[in-house]
Symmetry: C2
Subunit: 519 residues, 2 copies
């Protein structure tokens, strides 16, 4: 037998193989000969899923018993999932299964690189914009439909991605899915009813690898689908994937990983401990507010600068096209600039005492014109009013209070933080400088901050490319202490203090200027 | 943790269990808590099939987390397949999946006994009476239908059996199926095309345990279905099951196991070696010949005695009802008695030289009246003619030649045979004395012979009641040397000699009288 198999490489691996031809002298069955041949070459026991018997047997005869076995190393024992002619590298699909969007990366497992990417809307959205409405729909008889919608969207995107490479979805031999606990449950067809009701219990924390065909994915039928584990209803596989992508579980010292969506999800720690909490940071940070907010997509204003003298805004949009709205990170930029430009005060209120020519009057009161009508995609001006600024200040205060609370809980000071990873679309576009000026993130040395982009899909890539990372994901899920955020008086006091820009306690933000409360 | 789990008991075992109730302090998911509780009590790692997640989770909540886990010990690691209130013993179903009939035994795994039995026709028969026509139908697009027909027949019989015990099919937590290679493939939905064409290759020899729901059985969805392994197209799981039932693989010395169906299947050996072969013994031994033959079922003549003076036959039927036909064992009895009664000669030919009043003239020549018209179920006489006797003599000669050939191959003498097990319906009803008088079985001491009945279903019972027996079945399949019966000149010479009653070499049958060739 060959040396011990490589269990640190990709989760599925090809193996060139010549299977004994059958004869009257060797009438061993197809699957048994196939397993024997692989075992001989691979050096360890292997198995085959009964659901693949017919297909594998036919492929053996079609290819005259010479080809390439594809092995699934996530299974114990290792499983034979395909027998194919050598038609190019084995493909895999990394999926960030979000409530609103699904991000998909097609990987070449041999080269270890991303071939192409797609973002598609999660079609479940037609049955509810958020997880709670989806749960309601699922438990009212729609579970199977929601499962099919998610699987269908992934399958279609996979077909599309493969087609552009001159390949077919059947060439995709492994899938990894990182999603929040509800999205993961819905994709797996699991009954989510107990997740939404106290004490918020998922059906499962650790998903064993699924067969792709069992979930209705149009990839190789026996492709393993690695669904990231969750730690509970509020701490999903997307975060576990993010921790993996950031390498937080192996990092020295105390570090932060923050992912902002509908909730702000926060992990503090490193290789010695991992403590997590999540709190509603309000919708302002994910997609702005309803009137002008949008997710980070082409046309979203992601960067704003305001001339302190003219009080005029300049901006940059994602994709450099005419502005459509403002995404969360743009909104943080905007608010910080409004503060630095002395257009709003420490309470986040418009300064109405002096020159207000940069403001317009709307039915919701005064508003600042970010982009004039003639410069927007719609022909309508993009403005921000007091209501929206109040909403943002609550969100930024929530974020800061959560960070403060978790450090207090662990007994570390912000100054001890070695690395501060900001994940997600929010993290990809946010300017930490502005987030600090606003008092949303602590006033740390700027190089401590690191934007990571979509860590959820990056973690999914990682486990596909490295089986050891998948094992790490399982282990680290068990290591995380989840801190239930206690919204008590102490928290509310911290929250109130953090609603100021940057904070009622200015000493916490030495690099942020404090202005007189004059106009 | 408790002492190491018992892996020698039944293949599925219940475990009284109290799972931790979920709370805000313990928000571990349902399946993870269930596994943890079982692992704590069972003392080893356990797993759960994703297909059971929803059902197990619901059962946990329904039973307020106190009940009985049912464990599948055939899986590695052990699998949790049910969570139930203690509603009586765990049931299991032993199945002999025959080409024409399906025998089912319902077992109480706790008491280790058979609760009830059923025999039903294999409904696949509407698409072909034998394995070859079934293969043809399967490969012409009928595979799924044949799979469903077999599964449906088992499911209906299980419902029926359970109903009589005040239970439901969902209480059946394990199934074992012994069938020939084709029947096993069709139940598993496996493509049988290569089995029928040289070099006769099955898709699989060793079936991993199937999930009952994957095969469409209406039992507990995750009940393991243990399908006996085969050694090739001609040596099926029914024979492996038979070897297990006879204990041949653990027997001292050299022993025979013979199962007669369309083929005569023969295993020679014991714990030191196992050599097998199969040969066409003709239909005469399975179900007589077309005109009056039938399988061993109520109304079949299974015992015949002929008064040497009056030349009149007396008979006994299965079920003691009016005769319908003659089954294989009855035919052997009949032929031996015709010989001992000097109605046929050593060549199996009617003695026509003297008094022939016991014969009637038919369009197929002279025939012996076994049962007069007034005594039969149909009102037609049951007779045997020369053509039928010739057919039987070929069959008995084939059987003896096969036995002779395999002993010659191994280099043992008939006198060394310690035990001679005769299996199947044929074995259940045959009188070894008559089979010896006919020269079909060797002239050994009568107590060497042991009729075992339906060893196929008995072996299925055995693996359900004892996990170690299932492991033994896997191992012994790998130990069997299959002897391809070479129909060469030497074999044909042996066959010709064995067509005589008892044999051209009378010394081989010292206890069988040889008569003058006079009338």
């Amino acid at each position: 037998m060959n040396p011990a198999p490589d269990t640190t490489g990709p989760v599925v691996q090809p193996l060139d193989l010549e299977v004994e031809r059958p004869s009257l002298q060797n009438n061993t069955a197809d699957i048994d000969r196939l397993q024997r041949a692989v075992e001989h070459q691979w050096g360890a026991a292997v198995a085959t899923d009964p659901a693949d018997f017919n297909r594998l047997s036919r492929r053996m005869w079609d290819l005259d018993f010479t080809g390439q076995a594809v092995l699934d190393l996530s299974a114990t024992p290792v499983k034979i999932i395909d027998f194919r002619s050598d038609q190019g590298p084995v493909l895999a699909l990394a999926v960030d299964l979000g409530t609103t969007h699904i991000h998909l990366h097609l990987l070449d497992l041999h080269a270890g690189r991303v071939l192409d990417k797609r973002v598609v809307r999660n079609p479940q959205i037609e049955h509810g914009p958020d997880v709670l409405t989806r749960i309601h729909y699922a438990t009212s008889g729609g579970l199977e439909e929601l499962q099919g919608l998610a699987a269908g969207a992934i399958s279609r995107a996979a077909t599309d991605l493969c087609g552009d490479q001159g390949r077919i979805p059947r060439d995709v031999a492994a899938v990894a899915v990182a999603g929040n606990t509800i999205m993961s449950h819905l994709l797996a067809g699991l009954w989510p009813d107990h997740i939404r009701r106290e004490p918020y219990i998922p059906v499962v924390n650790h998903f064993p690898p699924y067969r792709a065909d069992a979930l209705g994915l149009g990839t190789l039928p026996g492709a393993p689908v690695l669904v990231f584990p969750n730690v509970g209803s509020y701490f999903g596989g997307d975060l576990i994937s993010g921790i993996l992508a950031a390498g937080l579980d192996q990092a020295e010292g105390v570090n932060f990983l923050v992912d902002v969506g509908t909730n702000a999800e926060v992990v503090l720690g490193g290789r010695d401990f991992l403590i997590a909490c999540a709190g509603a940071a309000g919708p302002a940070l994910e997609s702005g507010v309803a009137r002008m907010g949008m997710t980070a997509a082409p046309g979203a204003i992601e960067r704003v600068r305001i001339d302190p003298d003219t009080k005029k805004a300049s901006w940059r949009t994602i994709g450099d096209i005419a502005p459509v709205g403002i995404c969360g990170s743009g909104f943080v930029d905007l608010a910080a600039q409004l503060y630095l430009g002395k257009i709003i005060d420490q309470r986040g209120r418009f300064r109405l005492g002096g020159d207000t020519s940069h403001l317009v009057e709307t039915e919701d009161g005064p508003a600042y014109v970010v982009v004039a009508a003639e410069d927007t995609a719609s022909g309508e001006p993009i403005t921000v009013n007091q209501i929206e600024l109040d909403s943002l200040c609550r969100s930024k205060a929530a974020m800061y209070s959560i960070l403060e609370t978790i450090t207090l809980e662990v007994g570390v000071d912000f100054s001890e933080i070695k690395r501060f990873f900001v994940a997600g679309a929010f993290g990809q576009y946010i300017d930490p400088e502005m987030a600090i000026q606003l008092g949303m993130l602590p006033d740390l040395s700027r190089e401590v901050y690191q934007a990571l982009g979509n860590t959820s899909v990056q973690g999914a890539e990682k486990v596909l490319l490295d089986l050891a990372a998948w094992r790490r994901a399982q282990a680290l899920a068990g290591r995380i202490t989840y801190l239930e955020l206690n919204v008590n008086q102490a928290f509310m006091n911290r929250f109130s203090a953090a609603r100021f820009i940057p904070h009622t306690d200015g000493h916490r933000f030495p690099t942020v200027p404090v202005f007189d409360e004059g106009p």
